[in-house]
Every structure is written in C-alpha cells, then in structure tokens.
Amino acid sequence: MLLLGFPTELGSKPDKSAITKKVYSLNSKDNEPLIVKIPLTEVLLCVFHIPLPRIQIHHKMKKTSIIILVTIAAMIIGLLTYSVDFSTYDTVASAKKKEGKFVHLIAKLDVSKPVEYDPIKNPNYLSFYAIDSLGGTTKVVYRNNKPTDLEKSERLVMKGTMTKDHFECKDILLKCPSKYKDNEQLQKNMPGAEQATY
C-alpha cells in the first residue's frame, strides 16, 4: 500500500528501527496469520536497499498557491476567449485576398508613379503607389502627413486594410538607408566611391 502525497524531505537515512517497531508492536494471536501492512517504500528499502523519499500525508495547499494558480488560469482563459487577433505580413496579392482584414503590407515605394500630397489643399491626404517583391502594385492612401523621406525609403511596412481599389493605410514604418551606419552604406558614401562604380 502506498501512502500518497508530496515528499517533504529528501535523502534522509532510512530508519530501520521504525520498521522493526511496526512489525513487533502488532499483537499476534496464536495460530492467526500475522498480517503486517508494510509500506512499499519500507520493503524496497530493507529488502532491496532502494531508498525512496520518505513520504508523508500532505497538508492542504497554501492559499497563496491557489490564488496564483487561479490567476494564471484566468489569464489563460482570458487570452483564449478574447484571443488576440494577431495580424499577418502580406504581399499585395495575399492582402487583396484578405480584403477588409488588418494586415502588414511589406512593399517599396513605386517611384514610377506619382506621390500626391498637397498640404495646402489637404494636409491629411497622402496617396502613392507601392510595389512588392513579387511585382504586385497597389495604390495606398494614408490620411495623415507625408512621412519625411518617403521617397528615400528602401522599404515600407504599411499597416492597414485593403479595399476594392486601394490600401487604406493606418501607419507606415519606413526603412531608410541613411539611418543605419553599416559598412556597406558607409562605403558607398566614401569620397571617391562614385568613381569606383563604373
């Protein structure tokens, strides 16, 4: 018979006298078979010399632990029910398939098409064309001021939704070459570098 519970001590030496006490303290009536209930751990220990941890009946779980577990459970349930609607990174083509969904469109400014921004007429309307790595293009409308250096950007990450005829952009992240001082960029700007690129 095993007593279930959580161990509270590890590695303490087996107390042989306790076993002896257990066996011999039982009243044995004559001619009656002596049935001794010996814990399995004691058997393993004395007969096979396998020490297992001493085990005791466990107290009820600490209040604090209960509260912690409940909080974590609540968080997980909350997270699943109001599951966060993570967005996706998309090309023009895949974004067009997800019309109406909020996506991250990765593309470049299409310099062959016009960039419209007339702050005097309307400082909150910018429109341009973006082209992605697969060649797909779309018109982009951004109802805010034109980010500086839009024309110099290498890559755009546009957050928004695709509509029937254009991409309604809520936010633009520009990747500009001049921001980063990597060696490639520096080499290009070295005096005399232009001559080397014939």
Partner: protein, 849 residues
C-alpha cells in the same frame, strides 16, 4: 604603404588597454572565485582577494584609459579610426561629444563596463564579507562586456568589434590606395540628427548605471546560494536593489521624457519593444524588492526573492539581446541593428550563460532554501504583498511575451509551427497599444488597491476588525474624490468603448486610494518620520504618476484636428465600418494667415535659422481672445523646429508650452525643404501639344489633356457653356506631383481666365488660349515672394506634469529607503537626498530644449 597624417599610437594604446581590461577581469573573476572557494582557509583566501582586487583595479583603470582615448580621438576628429568616422564630425558641438561616443554599440558596451566598474568599486569600498562571491559575478559580466569590444582575431574568427579599428581596414574604397587618403576624408558621418540633444548625453548613462546595478542583486543571490548563507544575503542586498530600481526607473522615464520633448510621435510611451524590454527587468526587480521585504519581516518568500534577483539581470541581458542584435527588424523604430553576426552570437552567449546559471543554481538549491511551510494568513501584510509581487511579475512576463513575437517568428522549431497555425509569421494586432494598455490598466487597478490595503495589515497577523475600522475612512475619502473627479472633470476617452472607460475610472479610484491610504499611513502610523517612510512616499509617487498617465492619455486632445475646428475634408470614412475616420490631425498654417485651433488663433509668423546648420525654427503665435470683447486674453509663441541634416535625414522637434495643469504640444509634420529658386522667371508663355512637357524652376509639367465643359470635381460647367480646361500634371524636383487645371471661359464676348495656383510650388498657371493649329498657350508665372506654409499637429495633454512629478516623488521614495537601509549618516543621507531631488526635479520638470 606609409600613410600620411595618421595618428596610430592612440589606437594601439587603446587596443592594448581593452585587452588588458579583458584579461584583468578574467583574472579577477578566477581570483574571487577561488577566494570564495578557500574561504575557510583565511590565508589562502586573503591572497586570492589581494590578487582579485589588484586585477580589478587594473581593469577599472584600463577601462578609464580606454574611454579617455576614445574621447581624445573623437574630439580631435581622427577619421582614420572607423569609430570616429562613423560617429563624430567636424561641426559637432563639444557638448555632444559624449553622446557620439556612446551612439555606437562598442561605445555603449564600454559605457556599461564603466558603470560596472563604478558599482564594483563602491561595493568594494563598503567592506563586507560578501565580496568574493558577488565580485566573481560582477567580474565575469565585465569579462563578457570587454569581450564584445576586443576586436582581436583568433584563427580568422573575429572576437568582438574593436573600438580602434582603422577606417581603411574596414571599408573598401579606392582612395585607400593613396598614401594621403586622409586629405580626402574631410568629415565624418557625425551624430545622428535625432540624437543631437542633451537627453542623449544623460539618458544612456542613467540607463546603463541601472542595468549595471542589477548585477549586484544577482551576485548576492548567487553568493547566498553558493556559500549556503541562504538567509543572510537579503539584508545587505536591499540597499543595492533599491539603488538599482531608483536609477533604472529614472533612466527609463528619461527615455520617455526625451521622446515627449524631442520626438514627434506625441507622447512619452509607445509600448515599443525597446521601451518594454527595459521596463520588464525593472518590474521583476520591484517584485523582488517586495518579496525581500516580506522575507526580512516574516521569513517567507525567500525562494521567490532568489528567483527574482536572478531573473532581473537575466532580463537586462535579454533586453540587450533584443535591441542590439537587430532581431526586432521591421517591428520597431528603435531597431539598432547590424552589429554583425559575430557579436550577435556573443550577446546570445552572454545572455544564455547568466540566465542558465541563475536558473540552474535556483533549481539545484530549491529545497535547501529555507521556506516556511505553514500558510500565511489572509489578514497579514505579507499575504497581500506577496500576491501583489506575483501580479507585478506576471505583468512583466505578459509584456515580454508579446514583445518577443518577432523572436518567436525566427526560432527554428517554433517558426514553422506558427506558420502552420497562423498562415504566416505573427504580426502585431491592429491596436497593439490597446492590447498592452488594457492589461496594464487592470494590473494598475490591482496594484493600487493592494498598495492601499496592505499598509493596514500587520505582518504575520492582524486582529479582526482593526483593519476594517482603520481602512474605512481612507476608502470613503477615495471614493468621494473619485466621484468628484468623475463629475467635475470626466474622461472623454470613448475610442475603446465604455468598458475601457470604466476601467480607467477604476484606475483613478485605485490610484487615489493608494495616495490617500499611504498618506494616512505616513501621517498616522509613521507619524511623518520621513526616514522610514520611503515605501509610502514611493507608493504615493507611483499613484500620482499612474493617475497622471491615465488622465493625460485619455483626455488628450488634438486641437489641430479638423473635427475640432470644423474643417471638413472630402469623405474620409473608414471603408470597413463606414464610420467617420479618425479626425484628420494635421493643419496647414499659411504664413501670416491666422488659423483657428480650438480656443486659439494660431499664426505662422516667420521662420528662422538655428545654431546648427540646416535647423529651421518656425515661429507660431498662439492667441486667445475673449469671444465677446475680442480682447487678447493670452498670447505666447512656440518654436517647433525641423532639422535637415546632410544626408537629407530630417527630424522634427516639438515645442511645448507647459502650464501646471496641461501642456500644449506642437510639432511640424510637414514643411517645404529649403529650395531657394535661383531664377524666378517672370510671366512666361509656352505653346504645348497634348502630352508635351514644359519646365519651371522647380520641376516640369505635362499637359495631359484639354477638357471641354467638364462637370466633375472643381468645375460644374453645363454642355452649352464654352469652357476649356487644361488638365496639367506638375511634377516637382522632389517627385511630388500636383494637379493643376487652369480654365478659360468664353462668355459672350469676354474671355475669362480661371487661373490655378499651386501655392506649394509658387506656381501660377493661366490658360491663355488656343493657337490656330490646336495647340494651347499656357502662361506660367512663378512668384517672387515665397508663399510659405507649415503643416503642424498640436496636442493638449492635460495634467501631464503629474506624470513627471509622480515619477520624481517615487524615485525619491526609493532613495529615502536606500539611504535608510544603507546606513548613511544623517548628513550624508540628507545631502544625497537633496542632490538627488534637485537633479530629478530639474531634469523632469524644468529642463527643456
């Protein structure tokens, strides 16, 4: 080849001292480790200690010399050094010299190592028995840091990025074939435009000092475990942990103040990955602070304290990993990328080594760490403090879990799992700020309530209705104050619906509760004895700060928006919901033309040049007139500026007018770049065919077509009118395009010109007529006078100064605790606190661009 004009000695010396510092820190680590190991043999331990201290001093001096040399070569513009070429420039003002030293990765690693040196030195000077194990950890971290900037080669593999590498060795360019190449390198790239302000000089040192200080709690936890002095490490570690959280907290919010003052995103916190990554270790260390307090009073929560001490520094390293390796890529504007894959491997190793070390020791010693197995009572202070600490810890885990999404997208196994489940890499949801805000609002409510309630419980046990009696009054007062606020100054934040609005109101209640309860406690229980009142003061400061954040964010008003000013633009409805779009937030101010912005009349008066080349200030006059009498109630000027740097990098810096109860924040969102048209042509006529091109001083225009009696857009002609409209597409030098449609009308025997004006290009176009052979005659006139304009965004932030004031109070509270527990003498403590208070008040409340 013998290159002319190079100053190679400083670099060689610098390189030598970096290597020396690295070796010295390794020697110190080993020596202190052995000193700890032989602690039972005093003689041996002493000799190890002596060696360790000597090595440490060597390392500190070497680090200082290295810094001095870097400063020297930058100040003298020795562009033969790549680091100087990258970060310094001839026109850089001396005050920014320090900033340019730690602009680069290598420089900031050096700064971190210097901070460690300072912390380590102070630790050594306060002689204690914990020296050996704690300094083992500090020296080891130091060794890692120096390894990052070694720049030596072992069998073709480069270890670290050297500070003193030569430009000609790192970059390929034909000029390096010439011995006098230095004559061609006239200037360096210089400090990035966005970093040219005093914050770049102040914020990194504070932040790195805070990061560096987090090694001490780690070291103490380590020391406690390995020397089996499981309980004794907590008390000496406390003042260090307090120092760390105070400095780190100040450093983090300095970043926020910087963003608010200098950047144009209009706020001080954007839940950007870099911001989050530095907040997370702070939260964990605060949790650790509270569990250590619990331990000191009740003997409980020791295991949690050990864990939090380990995790604090581990997450500092994780934040370094996120910001320096470029793994965040496109997801953050802060991505300081491209240190190179060699350094990425080393940063990863640094992070994994310490994290695994801490976790390994923690689990190995878990059973041996003394823990009290009976339950704590619900009506005990430590129960509430412990739950609160767990909440803080879990909120930190939440923040870092969401922030690390770009990392999951790149982890070998997880990456494919995500693609399978989600259809592609995970991207942030539509409103990531709201995701963080709604969770953290809940956390703030819980913490505010707990901060208030916990004060009224005693440690271990509190008799029955004592708590209820004492807490009744503060609760009532808080409820009344909140109600008063709700009625008098309600929130106007409906963007996220009523649920969130209620949450914000609850947040207010929780914060007032915390303020009032802690105030009562301070007055009644601690009887105003400030020395022991650090905790209460810190809590009050925290509550003020959060309340300030709540109100300044939810009641912020963009007064340049079209909705506010009744300007309607063409239909701007959200295509998905059909609702009216977010109000259009920009407003164009034409020079000398007063424009209405909420209660103000704003006029763009003129622009002026700043000290720095390429910097232009725009003078905006804000006038508030009495509606009835027209008398001027108030008038002030704001000077937002635009800084156009040499590689056409442009940064827009706001100007802020601060009142006690609100800030008026304005910045330039669009301005014409300085294009001085050299030849301003007078009225000029060109003859054009359809699709012909004509030129003007700032670009060209194409006649797309000629329309007869158009009835769309600008014109509403009828079929029997006689009108011709030239449809012209104007393309300016900076590739912006405009549409112009000058028209000509024949009205009986009059010829009517309807000119079109492109103010942005100072261009007047007139449809003069049609030639015999169906070509059009177009009159082009460019104005002599520049019709100048500037597009701005102006935001009013109510009670934002509560954020800074609350922060200062909170940090002063933490400092007070530190001074108390570190056993400073009365004078020393007073001086330290006064200096701290003055500095913080100046930095956060008065310093300005």
């Amino acid at each position: 080849m013998n290159f002319e004009g190079e100053h190679l000695l400083p670099g060689q010396l610098g390189h030598f001292f970096v290597i020396l510092a690295f070796i010295a820190s390794l020697v110190a680590t080993v020596a202190w480790f052995n000193a700890n190991r032989t602690a039972s043999i005093p003689d041996r331990a002493q000799s190890w200690l002596k060696l360790a201290r000597a090595a440490f001093i060597t390392q500190v001096l070497s680090a200082l010399i290295v810094f001095g040399i870097v400063y020297y070569i930058c100040a003298n513009h020795y562009f033969e050094y790549l680091y100087v070429y990258k970060h310094a420039s001839v026109e850089l003002e001396p005050k920014y010299l320090l900033a340019c030293i730690w602009e680069g990765q290598e420089g900031s690693f050096l700064l971190w190592a210097l901070c460690h040196s300072i912390i380590g030195s102070i630790f050594l000077l306060r002689k204690n028995t914990w020296e050996a194990p704690v300094m083992t950890i500090l020296s080891l971290a130091q060794a890692f840091l120096f390894m990052m900037i070694l720049g030596i080669y072992i069998f073709d593999v480069r270890i670290g990025n050297g500070l003193f590498v030569l430009t000609r060795n790192e970059l390929e360019a034909p000029i390096f074939n010439q011995p006098n190449y230095l004559n061609f390198i006239r200037d360096g790239i210089g400090l990035n435009v966005l970093l040219r302000n005093y914050w770049m000089v102040i914020h990194p040192p504070f932040l790195f000092l805070g990061f560096a200080a987090s090694i001490i709690p780690f070291g103490f936890a380590y020391a406690g475990l390995v020397t089996r002095r499981y309980k004794e490490w907590v008390k000496p570690a406390m003042p260090w942990l307090l120092f760390c959280t105070a400095v780190l907290g100040a450093g983090i919010m300095m970043g926020g103040k910087w963003a608010y003052e200098s950047l144009s995103f209009g706020g001080y916190w954007a839940w950007d990955p870099v911001e989050n990554a530095s907040l997370v270790p702070w939260l964990i260390l605060i949790a650790g602070l509270h569990t250590m307090l619990i331990f000191m009073h009740t003997g409980r929560a020791l295991r949690a304290s050990v864990l939090f001490a380990f995790l604090g520094f581990s997450f500092v390293l994780y934040s370094t990993f996120l910001t320096r390796t470029g793994i965040l890529g496109d997801t953050s504007v802060h991505s300081f990328t491209e240190a190179g894959s060699a350094i990425n491997v080393m940063i990863r190793t640094f992070m994994l080594f310490f994290t695994l070390l801490g976790l390994f020791l923690f689990f190995r010693h878990y059973k041996k760490i003394p823990a009290i197995h009976t339950e704590e009572k619900t009506n005990s202070r430590e129960f509430w403090m412990f739950i609160g600490s767990i909440v803080i810890f879990l909120s930190a885990i939440f923040i870092i879990a969401i922030t690390s999404i770009p990392v999951y997208n790149q982890l070998p196994g997880i990456k494919n799992l995500i693609i399978r489940l989600h259809g592609g890499p995970l991207a942030m949801p539509e409103d990531p700020e709201f995701l963080y805000n709604k969770v953290m609002a809940m956390v703030a409510i819980i913490l505010g309530l707990f901060t208030a309630i916990a004060q009224y419980f005693r440690y271990k046990d509190t008799p029955g209705n004592v708590v209820l009696k004492k807490i009744a009054l503060p609760t009532l007062v808080s409820a009344l104050v909140t109600l008063a606020v709700v009625l008098v100054y309600p929130l106007t934040y409906d963007k996220q619906g009523p649920g969130f609005k209620i949450a914000i109101y609850l947040g207010f209640f929780a914060m007032f509760y915390a303020m009032i309860a802690n105030g009562f406690y301070l007055a009644n229980v601690q009887k105003g004895k400030l020395k022991a009142a650090g905790g209460s003061i810190a809590h009050i400061g925290f509550a003020i700060m959060i309340a300030g954040m709540l109100v300044s964010s939810s009641n912020k008003q963009v007064i340049s928006s079209s909705l506010v000013n009744g300007i309607t633009f063409e239909a701007s409805k959200d295509p998905r919901t059909g609702k009216a779009e977010d109000p259009q937030e920009n407003l164009t101010l034409i020079r000398q033309v007063p424009t209405r912005m909420e209660r103000y009349e704003v006029t763009y008066l003129k622009d002026s040049a700043g000290h720095e080349k390429g910097r232009k200030f725009y003078q905006l006059q804000f006038t508030q007139k009495d509606k009835a009498t027209g008398k001027i109630n108030e008038q002030f000027m704001l000077y937002p500026d635009v800084y156009l740097m040499k590689d056409n990098n442009m940064s827009s810096n706001p100007d802020i007018r601060t009142y006690p109860t609100r800030d008026i924040f304005t910045f330039v969102s669009y301005a014409l770049k300085d294009n001085t048209a050299e030849d301003t042509t007078a009225f000029n006529e060109v003859v054009m065919n359809i699709k012909d091109t004509a030129f003007y001083s700032n670009g060209y225009m194409i006649l797309e077509g000629v329309l007869k009696n158009p009835n769309t857009g600008r014109f509403k002609y009828q079929p029997n009118d006689m009108a011709l409209v030239a449809d012209i597409r104007v393309v300016s030098k900076d590739t912006i395009q405009y549409a112009a449609q000058p028209a000509i009308e024949v009205d009986q025997d009059h010829l009517h010109h309807v000119d079109d004006t492109l103010y942005a290009q100072n261009l007047f176009l007139r449809f003069n007529g049609v030639t015999a052979d169906q070509k059009i005659r177009l009159g082009i006139r460019e104005s002599d006078k520049l019709i100048d304009f500037v597009t701005v965004k102006t935001i009013v932030f109510p009670y934002i100064n509560a954020v800074w004031a609350g922060l200062v109070i909170m940090i002063m509270g933490i400092f007070t605790s530190m001074v108390n527990r570190a056993g400073f003498s009365k004078t020393k403590g007073f001086v330290a606190l006064l200096a701290g208070a003055l500095f913080l008040v100046f930095m956060f409340l008065f310093a300005n661009n």
